[in-house]
């Protein structure tokens, strides 16, 4: 057993009477990568927020180098050389890379509060070089990609000489190449004797990257041990408390001949060209493409969030006259957007309010169209139960207080309230755990069984192969292939995704696929 850097003893924490953590004790050794896994809402984020000084525990204590450690805020944690890299990066996009790195500790000229820009940029340059970020230190954050921004956060941890670095779901918005680079950096940090706490839902990454694993379930530690003592199945078993026989639900939907949706020659210059696709009643249709292939843009156009130049959209055989979101909703189309925090939820508002937004006009009273609160509440409660949304009272808890998987269920629930016939879901399982994934798949499956047409946009091939009847593949704004269930094959789909020529030239492109 190595030297303990950080020890948490009997930590408990409750929110509004709901226990998030009870009696959790873990330790972090010097120079190790500790993986923390658990379902959404198991308490991982709460625990890390306590270590990072964002939250204070109700009871229990922490020891850092055998000394009591009681951070009251992020600054205290940073001063104790503990850095927390949040899933939602914490950077000011209107400031430069260097300014973000030194935001609370600017190098000054002598003692006067005048920033020594040359020194700041020199130090920042060193720090970003150490994490392999190639840009001048005076670049504005808004000019960087998501992966580069994350490197800035790591550089920041590096420059404060952090001994413990916490990563919360760091790979959700990274490309495969950026992910690989991140893993290499984590390896380097470990070599330099830094301790890493790594939280992720991607169990294969956990297996590859960590030395030890702690599994949390419902606020308790259910298993702990070296990574080699776990396999994926045992991780899942400890996370959800039962065996998971299937990753995908059994498919029972029946595809009819009736076309629910048809896009004919949809073109928008520079974005998509000549898109032809359709989905039948009861069919789950996948749309696969690499990042930037135009799949999300296409769905925006289809739903009416963006205009198109030529082509036709037909819904249930009828030409869509006005391409607006309002029109789409009226015709029974639902759109679960890719980015739930920014596009799918009003984070500050309650779960009930979030659930009721779209359906509100349908559920208004006949007389004067007043909002029918009890009707909405009843329906929302039913949906929340059906989706098993884990939250406090839905009329009281804010959407932001929910875990990622439950937030996603709220977004889906919001649309289920309208009983849609055409369901578009964009990256429905990004950043959520295996259990929640299964539930999302089941919702999709059930919708199809009830006769809806479902369009699933995803960058995970396995996921699409597991739940779809047919998969369209997009590359550079065009549909390059359509594969039926009996021909599903990773190779084929990827070949279409790279466009034929690109694939032949360079087979190693496969690493660009999102994990």
């Amino acid at each position: 057993m190595g030297e303990n850097i950080l020890a948490l003893r009997n930590i408990s924490k409750a929110f509004y009477g709901i226990k998030a953590l009870s009696d959790v004790s873990i330790r972090v050794e010097k120079g190790e990568v500790l993986g923390i896994i658990g379902e959404n809402g198991a308490g991982k984020s709460t625990l890390m927020n306590i270590v990072g000084g964002v939250l204070q525990p109700d009871s229990g204590d922490m020891l850092l180098y055998d000394q009591p450690y009681k951070p009251k805020n992020t600054m205290d944690a940073n001063a104790s050389k503990i850095a927390f890299i949040h899933q939602e990066l914490n950077l000011c996009n209107n400031l430069t890379v260097a300014e973000n790195i030194f935001l609370i500790d600017f190098p000054k000229i002598n003692k006067i509060p005048y920033i020594n820009k040359r020194e700041m940029n020199r130090l920042a340059h060193e720090a970003i070089k150490a994490v392999g970020l190639q840009c001048p230190p005076d670049t504005l954050i808004e000019k960087l990609s998501q992966g580069e921004r994350q490197l800035v956060e790591i550089a920041k941890a590096f420059s404060m000489d952090a001994q413990v670095i916490i990563f919360d779901e760091p790979t959700t918005s990274l490309t495969a190449r950026e992910t690989e680079r991140l893993f290499k950096i984590i390896g380097d940090l470990k070599q330099k004797g830094r301790s890493i706490i790594y939280i992720s839902h991607i169990l294969s990454d956990i297996q590859k990257l960590t030395d030890r694993i702690v599994v949390l379930r419902d606020g308790n530690v259910t298993a702990e041990g070296t990574t080699s003592s776990f396999n994926i199945d045992s991780m899942i078993f400890n996370m959800i408390g039962r065996d998971m026989k299937h990753i995908y639900p059994e498919r029972k939907n029946v595809v009819s001949d009736e076309k629910k949706v048809e896009l004919v020659n949809i073109t928008k210059k520079g974005i998509v060209s000549n898109i032809n696709l359709h989905a039948h009643e009861g069919e789950v249709v996948g749309i696969f493409g690499l990042m930037g292939s135009g799949r999300t843009e296409l769905m925006h156009i289809f739903f009416g969030l963006d205009s198109f130049e030529s082509g036709e959209i037909k819904i249930k055989g009828k030409l869509k006259s006005k391409n607006t979101a309002v029109q789409s909703i009226k015709q029974g189309v639902a759109f679960v957007t890719e980015n739930r925090r920014e596009e799918g939820l009003m984070l500050e508002m309650t779960v009930l309010e979030n659930l009721s937004f779209v359906a509100m006009p349908n559920l208004a009273s006949r007389f004067l169209r007043f909002i029918d609160k009890s009707r909405i509440a009843d329906k929302a409660a039913a949906i929340s139960q059906r989706l098993r949304i884990k939250s406090g009272a839905i009329e009281k808890s804010a959407a932001k207080s929910l875990s990622g998987g439950n937030q996603q269920k709220v977004v889906i629930g919001k649309w289920l309230m309208t009983s849609p016939e055409i369901f578009i879901v964009d990256e429905p399982t990004r950043g959520i755990d295996v259990g929640a994934k299964f539930e999302v798949y089941s919702v999709i499956n059930n919708l199809a069984c009830d006769g809806a047409a479902v369009l699933v946009v995803s960058s995970e091939i396995e996921e699409l192969m597991g739940i779809c009847d047919r998969i369209y593949v997009m590359s550079r704004g065009e549909i390059t292939g359509c594969v039926g269930q009996d021909e599903f094959d990773r190779e084929t789909i990827l070949r279409y995704a790279f466009g034929q020529c690109a694939f032949n030239k360079n087979a190693s492109h496969e690493s660009e696929v999102q994990q």
């Binding site: 000011c92 209107n94 400031l95 509060p113 520079g270 930037g292 135009g294 550079r476 704004g477």
Partner: protein, 334 residues
């Protein structure tokens, strides 16, 4: 080829649009000058600079508040209060001029501290807090002055015509000093960078360890202090504070800041050249309209029209920028 030309055109248009306030300023200045050549005379230019100085100072304070995503509607009333109370202190209580001026600045400081208290501790919305003080400070001043105009001693009015280095009027000098100080503060001190950080997103700033409560307090206090200074500088030019004094100045200050590229949602904007150009543009338009003897009732309408035009052009710029940045996905466009 065709596409290339188009892209170049867009890039050129973008460059033009980026400097809209400056271009509009030059355009308006030249047009007015061609119509009435007196406009180009040094006396007039000095006049414009002097009258820009007080509104510029108030606009700089406003910019600080806008940078954090807040707003201060009370600046006009505070100018009224500070100028009147300084005048009253001199006339009725025999205060020396310097002490009266210091007192006026302290009044500004207290008002700013009150704003900060309401916003930080009572968690009230800046718009409502400062809308209330807009009305309350006006009422307070009318009560103190009993609606009678307050005259300042001639020693003060003489200050406005004093020249530094033989040609810089004192108000302009103070304006320049404040521009330099605030510019340095914003660009090169931790406080300045923290103002931008809080304006971008106060939650992110707080998580990064910035004391955003303190930052908010500082900007509201600075804004009020600068408004008080602006009020005094303005009165050194007029010599008298009557009941309508300060009305509508908040509009000019906000307009000058926005013309200078300051975003109302915070995090974006600059004092120099931004706000300075914005202020000059507004003053040139106003002075020009006087020279052209435009109907006095038409003047505010035209001023507002030009400001709206400038902001419209600026929003065109943002749209064009977005379009240029949009990725081309399809092959055909390469």
């Amino acid at each position: 080829m065709n596409n290339n030309n188009k892209a170049n055109m867009s890039a050129f248009a973008l460059k033009l649009l980026k400097n809209i306030p400056l271009l509009l300023f030059i355009l308006v200045f030249v047009v007015f000058g061609l119509i009435t050549p007196v406009f180009f005379e040094w006396d007039n230019i000095e006049n414009i600079l002097t009258s820009s100085s007080y509104i510029g100072i108030v606009a700089i304070g406003m910019t600080l508040v806008l940078l954090t995503g807040g707003i201060d509607l009370s600046v006009g009333s505070l100018m009224f209060l500070s100028a009147s109370s300084a005048g009253l202190l001199i006339r009725n209580f025999g205060f020396p001029i310097w002490l009266a001026i210091v007192s006026a600045i302290v009044i500004g400081l207290l008002v700013g501290a009150f704003h900060a208290f309401c916003i930080n501790k009572l968690k009230l919305v800046p718009f409502i807090v400062t809308l209330s003080t807009l009305v309350a400070l006006k009422g307070l001043t009318l009560m103190l002055t009993k609606s009678v105009a307050v005259e300042w001693p001639s020693a003060i009015t003489g200050m406005a015509s004093r020249r530094l280095l033989g040609f810089i009027p004192l108000p302009v000098f103070i304006f320049i000093v404040i521009i330099i100080l605030v510019q340095l503060m914003l660009k090169s001190t931790p406080l300045g960078r923290h103002i931008y950080a809080v304006g971008y997103n106060s939650e992110v700033a707080a998580k990064a360890g910035i004391d955003h409560i303190k930052i908010i307090a500082v900007v509201y206090i600075l804004c009020s202090v600068l408004a008080a200074i602006g009020g005094i500088i303005s009165v050194t030019q007029l010599g008298i504070v009557n009941a309508g004094y300060g009305e509508g100045e908040e509009f000019k200050a906000i307009a000058a800041a926005v013309l200078g590229g300051t975003s109302l949602s915070g995090g974006v904007g600059s004092v120099f050249p931004g706000v300075v150009i914005g202020t000059l543009l507004i003053q040139v338009v106003q002075a020009g309209l006087v020279y052209l003897q435009v109907d006095i009732y038409m003047q505010p309408i035209i001023t507002a029209g030009i400001i709206l035009l400038a902001i419209l052009l600026d929003s065109l710029r943002t749209m064009l920028e977005k379009r240029l940045e949009r990725r081309n996905i399809t092959k055909s466009c390469e």
